[in-house]
Symmetry: C2
Subunit: 70 residues, 2 copies
Amino acid sequence: MKNLKMKIARVENEISQEQLAKMVGVTRQTIGMIEAGKFNPSLQLCIAICRALGKTLNDLFWEENENEKI
Amino acid sequence: MKNLKMKIARVENEISQEQLAKMVGVTRQTIGMIEAGKFNPSLQLCIAICRALGKTLNDLFWEENENEKI
DNA sequence: TTATAATGTCAACTATATATTGCATAAAGT
DNA sequence: ACTTTATGCAATATATAGTTGACATTATAA
């Protein structure tokens, strides 16, 4: 499914998909597909995106679900 | 470099590489290589590992570095 | 209207994550 | 000594992440 959190973080930083792509060393299409939820990026790419947007992995890529509330 | 945090979390849960591999649907070698830092797993695999070990992405795969202390 | 910037999408390609198999070693159990 | 369990390490095979280039849409600005 779509990654709204990443898109919102990018828009908050006022950078385009293309600028973000350049910052993390991939192409515009790759960023677009991640935001569209069309695939499964590598860990290193996720980390690079987080650093570029001033967020952590949990901020952008972690979903708490309603179990495991220990 | 090696992923000690993941190995420690696995050992704390007292499960073998092979058991973890089965839980997350990959082979033993894949788990071994991730712990050895020999490659770059996909986000979905990282998430599956976190869920299996009762940790979050930040717990196992995020490194704070000494910049960006805003 | 005509540019231009940001994005979506598609097809064909390349790089690499992951599978599969097999062999090796060390530790623990019998 | 023999077996089992856990792990490491390669070689080859396959699936998929990511590239490249092109064309489309939408929105904004001249």
